[in-house]
């Protein structure tokens, strides 16, 4: 509870987010069951709306983002040769605020006032007259709370990456994953304030009598759409860039070749990050912004395919002439590339606004989302989980089960989401809880729902594999013969990470080190030796982060129940900050 060690915080993030994956996945299951047959009446329309709203909100904000953060936390300090992140206590604060915010959001189920306006909750459906219960207050306030966590976390990683690289690790020697983390964090820091303002305005509208999005009083519901998507589109790159980074680590490792075109991969990431700000209205082609605006956003959106394509080509270039080993992480990484191409190409076909008029708000979009988010982000995350698992735990997940796991998820994913392309083009709108049989959508929906079962089994296999690994054999510190710095130390890494901060020799540092050692006739078989931990100055545990997080969450919770509670929360948060700043960051040590 008081830990500030980045590795433990990573595990906390990972486990929490995985639990939310199961929750979001079960919600998806309810959706798929409801849609499995025409004119089905399993759950009512109201419940259905709650399901897809919470499904998407959970998956985006409580699964993919924190899983990304989990990897940042575990890998970044190790990959840049640091002992921890720049602000360990701030890091802990981020986690606790995130957790409490997510729990607050799910309290809506407890009081049965669940958000139900979709994950982008378009105004003015979200206004009191149309959504009278507290569901949307839960939604907006919890997102505000979680936003604090995300921004705090991202600030931390920006500083860590810019400032805590080991000597010799220049920017152009940083692993691609570190690069993508940096870009993602910058996007986060800039994108979240925008949605924050939108959410504040929504909260004010619903609780304090303003009319930001109420047409009858001159408000413009379209303003919400702009605010949401100016945030929302960078957000989807926040969801995909970290997995792209992960894949850029894994492909070279198992092709035994350095990443092809490193500078191009890095710069395309930067370009995506910048261009991502200029395309938001492609979500609003059908709003009626006029042909000029639609033209502009058509072109800018289509151009984003270019830097993304550059990445794909370089990944293929990495495989080219390599010696590819099909380990489980590699399978997931290859699956990522294969599936992301499909998702990206359907994305480009949305970008063409005249044909998007037919596609928008249909299952064709749902297919796109899941190819990029599940085929992309989730596959990248699975790949990363299998890849770093031995580093995190010192044990290996079973490779055979891992491959079964991969194939189940790969097949299940395509069975579930590929038919949705056709469903959409055959005219099935999204967010409908029922459809009539005469429209001919039933068979494809059945396939999709069947695919879900395969996915479900696939995820169970993953859980089984993790549980089983508890008593599997211990592995060496470098089971994959990997290039990254993190593989040079023991598994699991000691609290202080590096006994001595390494001197970085090149892009694939550890490969270089190993090669030199081999050439010198002394191949490396052992991790860096352990030292007495008390000789290294580490940040001490602190309960102020969790204390402050309780305060911050209460401020939000109070808005949902009694304003007095918000006040109490404010006081607690204040006390937390004071206690925090009076506490030395690290235990006083002798040699200072």
């Amino acid at each position: 509870m008081t830990t500030v060690d980045h590795k433990r915080i990573a595990i906390l993030y990972g486990v929490t987010a995985f639990i939310f994956l199961l929750i979001g996945g079960l919600e998806a299951g309810v959706i798929r069951m409801q849609l499995a047959s025409a004119d089905n009446d399993l759950i009512g329309a109201g419940r259905f709306n709650e399901m897809f709203t919470m499904h998407a909100t959970t998956m985006v904000f409580m699964v993919i983002m924190p899983l990304g953060v989990s990897f940042f936390n575990f890998v970044i300090p190790l990959a840049i040769g640091a002992r921890d992140v720049a602000f360990p206590r701030l890091n802990a604060l981020s986690f606790w605020i995130f957790l409490f915010g997510a729990v607050l959001m799910h309290m809506s189920f407890v009081v049965n006032q669940v958000p139900d306006a979709g994950w982008f909750s378009y105004a003015n459906l979200t206004e009191k007259p149309f959504s009278p219960n507290r569901g949307l207050d839960f939604w907006s306030i919890s997102l505000l709370v979680m936003g604090v966590a995300s921004v705090a976390g991202a600030l931390n990683f920006i500083v860590t990456i810019i400032n805590m690289r080991a000597p010799g690790m220049t920017f152009m020697r940083m692993p691609v994953f570190v690069w993508m983390t940096l870009i993602t964090s910058i996007l986060l820091v800039l994108a979240f304030p925008v949605i924050t303002v939108g959410l504040i305005e929504l909260t004010l509208d619903r609780n304090f009598g303003t009319h930001f999005f109420i047409p009858a009083e001159g408000g413009d519901p379209i303003l919400w759409q702009h605010l949401f998507w100016i945030f929302g589109h960078p957000e989807v790159y926040i969801l995909i860039l970290p997995p792209m980074g992960i894949v850029s680590e894994i492909l070279p490792t198992f092709s035994r070749k350095p990443l092809f075109g490193y500078p191009f991969v890095v710069f395309s990431g930067i370009v995506i990050g910048i261009m991502g700000w200029a395309v938001w209205s492609h979500h609003m082609f059908t709003v009626g912004l006029g042909p000029v605006a639609n033209s502009v956003f058509t072109i800018t959106t289509m151009l984003i395919a270019v830097p993304t394509g550059v990445k794909i080509f370089n990944w293929i270039g990495t495989l080219w002439k390599g010696a590819i080993e099909f380990t489980t992480p590699m399978l997931f990484a290859l699956g990522f590339v294969a599936l992301f191409i499909i998702g990206g190409l359907s994305g480009v076909s949305h970008a063409v606004s005249p044909s998007d008029f037919q596609q928008q708000d249909t299952y064709y979009i749902v297919a796109h989302i899941h190819y990029v988010l599940f085929g992309g982000s989730m596959f990248g995350i699975f790949a990363g989980a299998y890849y770093w698992f031995p580093k995190i735990t010192g044990r290996m997940m079973d490779e055979t089960i891992g491959k079964i796991n991969f194939w189940l998820i790969f097949i299940g994913m395509n069975l579930t989401f590929f038919p949705m392309h056709f469903l959409g083009l055959n005219g099935m709108p999204r967010r409908i809880y029922t459809y009539s049989a005469e429209l001919g959508w039933e068979n494809l929906n059945r396939i999709a729902s069947f695919g879900y079962i395969v996915l479900f089994v696939g995820i169970l296999v993953f859980i089984y594999n993790i549980l089983k690994a508890r008593n599997s054999r211990r592995v060496s510190h470098d089971p994959w013969d990997a290039p990254g710095l993190e593989w040079s130390i023991a598994s699991p890494p000691p609290a202080y990470n590096f006994a001595e901060i390494p001197q970085i020799q090149g892009r694939d540092h550890y490969w270089i080190v190993k090669e030199k050692a081999e050439a010198a006739g002394t191949p490396i078989t052992e991790p860096e030796a352990l030292v007495d931990p008390s000789s290294i100055h580490m940040p001490s545990p602190s309960y102020w982060p969790i204390f402050t997080a309780v305060g911050v969450t209460l401020i939000g919770g109070g808005l949902l129940s009694h304003y007095a509670l918000s006040f109490v929360g404010g006081v607690i948060a204040m006390m937390g900050v004071i206690g925090w700043s009076n506490e030395p960051a690290a235990a006083p040590s002798d040699h200072h």
């Binding site: 720049a86 602000f87 921004v151 600030l155 931390n156 920006i158 500083v159 810019i162 400032n163 805590m164 690289r165 000597p167 690790m169 820091v189 800039l190 994108a191 979240f192 304030p193 925008v194 924050t196 303002v197 939108g198 504040i200 305005e201 004010l204 304090f208 009598g209 303003t210 009319h211 930001f212 009083e217 001159g218 408000g219 413009d220 303003l223 605010l227 006029g290 901060i501 900050v577 925090w580 700043s581 009076n582 506490e583 030395p584 960051a585 690290a586 200072h592």
Partner: protein
């Protein structure tokens, strides 16, 4: 935050906390930009009064703007005094900054009150909503800054502020100047440019 950690090795030579503050201010920029954008989108869109021209008192706010500007000057002096290890001057300048900030907030409270009495409320029209949200969040930033300044002053009295810990003051200064600059933008847009709008204006295409 008021505690100086020992100087660590950093890759760029920039201090961690300073970098953090800069990036945070970048983030805050977007926050205010979005609020200001809301205000400008709703400029002239209110269906009922009061409208800016009925309410906004440019001369009075010019005074409070001037006061806030002066506080930035005091902040600069405070930092200089810290670096010079002049404890007394440090405390005085910090308190002066806080005081000037408080005067600004005082003006704002009076202004809000007058506006309320003249019928401008959060829920009354769009002008009220976007005006109070924007200036209110700015005021909250100033208030936080004042608390921070006072905390520094107290630390100063305890003798914990000196040239070695000048960073503590510098960070607060960065924040303070930022909030100040944001006000300049708000003042220009809300008071000098949009302050004389007399009612709904037709927005092309709207």
């Amino acid at each position: 935050m008021a505690h100086a950690v020992e100087q660590e090795y950093t890759t760029t030579g920039l201090n961690h906390r300073k970098l953090l503050m800069w990036v945070f201010l970048g983030s805050d920029c977007l926050f205010f930009a979005s609020l200001i954008a809301t205000y400008m989108v709703y400029r002239g869109q209110s269906l009922v009064g009061p409208y800016p021209n009925d309410i906004i008192d440019v001369p009075v706010t010019t005074i409070s703007t001037f006061v806030l500007l002066m506080s930035s000057f005091a902040m600069v002096q405070a930092l200089a005094a810290t670096n010079a290890d002049n404890r007394k001057a440090t405390i005085n300048w910090l308190l002066a900054t806080a005081l000037l900030g408080s005067i600004f907030i005082g003006f704002q409270i009076v202004e809000f009150n007058t506006f309320k009495n003249e019928g401008l409320t959060l829920g009354g029209n769009l002008f009220g909503a976007s005006f109070f949200t924007l200036t209110g969040f700015h005021g909250a930033h100033v208030t936080l800054g004042i608390i921070w300044l006072l905390a520094l002053a107290i630390l100063g009295m305890k003798g914990r502020i000196n040239s070695k810990t000048a960073l503590d003051v510098e960070l607060c200064g960065l924040y303070w100047h930022f909030v100040d600059i944001v006000w300049i933008v708000i003042f220009t847009l809300l008071y000098l440019i949009a302050g004389f709008d007399v009612g709904p204006v037709a927005i092309p295409g709207g």
